[in-house]
């Protein structure tokens, strides 16, 4: 019954990689959440904590890379197993980037903590972050549940994130043109918004990787844009 032992060790290796990826995901989600909370409440202490938290993701990404290489060398996985391992490498890279972007938002929070900006800007950034975090949460939930049918819906939300970012961009630009003293803090806020928008892109990347891992196929390319009118959606689809 040697083969059973070999397979279960193999399964253990795969599970350990997936587990660590889950830990990275949870950590990245919390970092972004806290970075945005720190920004909105101008909480410099929380922002500094977020900056320190990033080290965990860097280490975890390297460890997942090492484990994956070791697993490929030792077990020579094929088909679904191989996709699982390669997928883990890619997803961990995306999550590490998400952490970097969260860290950058936190750093900028410290930089602008002395100034006060209009409430509506922070509401906008909060709403943008809510969209990006929902995207990230749904993607990581699919990684757990393996419910590949829920992935198609995510592209729509990426479009919403882009639209929201564009709108914030214009608003910030208006503030800067109104009064040049706004330029420094608004530039920081602009980068914060851009970072959050990028987090949404990484979530979409992860969605594509998961689709590939689960099906062996590339995610169907961009659906046709329906028309020239501008559209946006809010709210989330019910989970079931």
């Amino acid at each position: 019954m040697n083969s059973v032992h070999i397979v279960s060790a193999f399964d253990g290796d795969l599970k350990s990689i997936a587990d660590q990826l889950g830990a990275m995901g949870g950590h990245a989600e919390r970092m972004v959440e806290q970075a945005v909370a720190a920004l909105v409440n101008s909480d410099a202490a929380l922002a500094r904590k977020v900056v320190e938290d990033d080290a965990f993701l860097d280490i975890a990404e390297r460890e997942i890379g090492d484990k994956a290489i070791l697993l490929i060398a030792k077990r020579q996985p094929l088909a679904a197993d191989l996709r699982e391992v390669i997928g883990a490498i890619r997803i961990s890279a995306d999550l590490e980037r998400v952490g970097d972007l969260g860290k950058n938002v936190a750093k900028r929070t410290v930089a602008i903590s002395g100034t006060s900006q209009p409430l509506s800007l922070f509401r906008g950034i909060e709403a943008l972050a809510e969209l990006a975090l929902t995207q990230l949460k749904d993607v990581l939930d699919v990684y757990a549940s393996r419910a590949v049918e829920r992935l198609g819906y995510m592209r729509n939300r990426d479009d919403q994130i882009d639209a929201m970012y564009t709108s914030l961009f214009r608003q910030l630009l208006t503030y800067m043109m109104e009064d040049q003293r706004n330029i420094a803090p608004c530039t920081h806020l602009l980068f914060c918004a851009k970072n959050i928008e990028r987090i949404g892109d990484h979530a979409t990347n992860i969605a594509e990787t998961i689709y590939y891992v689960l099906t062996g196929l590339q995610m169907p390319s961009e659906r046709p844009k329906d028309d020239k009118t501008h559209a946006v959606m809010v709210g989330t689809a019910r989970k079931d």
Partner: protein
């Protein structure tokens, strides 16, 4: 264990059989968890659960050996013997999310409340991947390692904010099964938040009209004391300002109330077409005032959904009212009720279209934010509070629905509410 779901399933089925076999022990164990939890806080529901489980355990204790049961089949069939009770059936009746899992961290069974709260939980789902928050992972990892960690708070922010107090225990022979019990504390948390939010928003938004009223009072007592013409004019402005403050407070209260209840009662179902008809009947006078005619186009779609009648009424009231006010120049408003095809499940789409000036593209993503105004002047003239669409978004999110906004400047705007359809027939009333 390998990560392919098919392979989990075999193991999970086997484990859930074991779960069923040990149901007696499980029930006793659940009651133990409940006693701990009930002791830790005020948990009226659990006290009931405790009473039920104690009764069940009592019923189980004198259960005769199998041989005896065969000897007197009549007696056995009259009593609901242990074979007919399962931990799953027991957990299904509780309103608190409960999840059973094994020492590898794989879900064996999640009760209905858990599925409602956290989405589908098929057996074999890795708990550590689903609950990824660092403190949550630490809690589960300690459990798996055989420790008994102190209860923690679990905070889920999306899609609707919820806060749970989480306790856990190892159960079964050899303690190789684990159970997580979530106690929903969201309401207490939301009341706190509501207070803070209400104060922040109200103080910010009420300041302007209040300052204007105070200014006019000063003028009326001073310079304009004996000028009847100016007095009339000032009193009129003051009346419109106090009216605005009253509307603001109404809307803020309604939004805060909505935020207190995160989910709607899924058991009541309503017909969207009826609600839309009611809304149109109510708003006909307003439409006439604005010189707008309202048409309903419905293609006999089955429009029954699970939801709250009053809340959905508010959704369509706000949408149609906006269309009448801001799309006045288009002179008509069209409401379409059709089968939705854009989402992942069967839906009803209700689209309210106006043919007014439309909304510039840069504003569309943000119009559901509180107090966001496309054109502050026109919004004030229309007695808008800046909260109407925020309320719409909130109610739709609670119903698992979405709002889609499309607009082309000069052509008009359309607001589509997509709501997941239920198969039930509407409940009376």
């Amino acid at each position: 264990m390998h990560l392919a779901p098919g392979r989990y399933l075999g193991a999970a089925t086997m484990l859930s059989q074991r779960l069923r076999e040990r149901m007696g022990l499980l029930i006793a164990a659940i009651s133990a968890v409940m006693i701990v939890a009930a002791g830790a806080g005020k948990w009226p529901l659990l006290t009931i659960g405790l009473a039920v489980s104690v009764v069940l355990v009592a019923a189980l204790a004198p259960s005769p050996p199998a041989g005896e049961a065969i000897a007197s089949p009549g007696a056995a069939s009259e009593l609901p013997g242990p074979d007919h009770l399962s931990a799953a059936a027991f957990a299904a009746e509780l309103d608190d999310p409960i999840i059973f899992f094994d020492r590898s961290g794989f879900v064996l069974h999640a009760n209905r409340a858990a599925v409602d709260a956290f989405g589908a939980m098929r057996p074999g789902l890795s708990l550590l991947l689903r609950f990824r928050a660092p403190d949550m992972r630490a809690f589960i990892e300690q459990l798996i390692a055989g420790e008994s960690p102190a209860p923690i708070d679990f905070h889920e922010r999306l899609p609707v904010e919820r806060l749970f107090r989480l306790s856990a225990a190892a159960i079964g022979q050899g303690k190789d099964l684990l159970v997580l019990v979530f106690r929903d504390n969201s309401e207490a948390r939301r009341i706190d938040r509501m207070r803070a939010d209400f104060i922040a928003n109200a103080s910010h938004e009420l300041r302007t009209p209040l300052a204007s009223v105070a200014g006019f009072i000063d003028t009326l007592r001073g310079a304009a004391k004996d000028d009847p013409k100016a007095r009339d004019q000032f009193l009129e402005i003051m009346q419109s300002q106090t009216g605005r403050m009253a509307r603001l407070i109404d809307d803020l209260l309604s939004l805060s109330r909505l935020e207190m209840k995160p989910r709607v009662d899924a058991s009541s179902s309503v017909d969207v077409a009826d609600i839309v008809q009611n809304v149109v009947d109510t708003l006909t006078p307003l439409a006439k005032e604005n010189g707008v005619s309202i048409e309903i186009q419905s293609d006999e779609v089955q429009a029954v959904i699970a939801g709250d009648k009053d809340e959905l009424f508010q959704v369509f009231e706000n949408l149609v009212e906006n269309a009448c006010k801001y799309g006045r120049t288009g002179e008509r408003v069209v409401i379409q009720i059709v089968e939705g095809k854009s989402g992942p499940q069967p839906e009803v789409d209700v689209t309210v279209t106006d043919f007014g000036p439309g909304i510039p593209a840069e504003h569309i993503p943000r119009i559901t934010e509180r107090f966001y105004r496309v054109d502050p002047g026109s919004s004030r003239a229309q007695k808008g509070t800046g909260l109407g669409l925020a309320i719409v978004k909130h109610i739709l999110t609670r119903h698992g629905g979405r709002l889609t906004v499309k607009s082309e400047p000069g052509q008009g705007s359309s607001f589509t509410a997509s709501l997941p359809r239920s198969n039930a027939s509407p409940t009376a009333g």
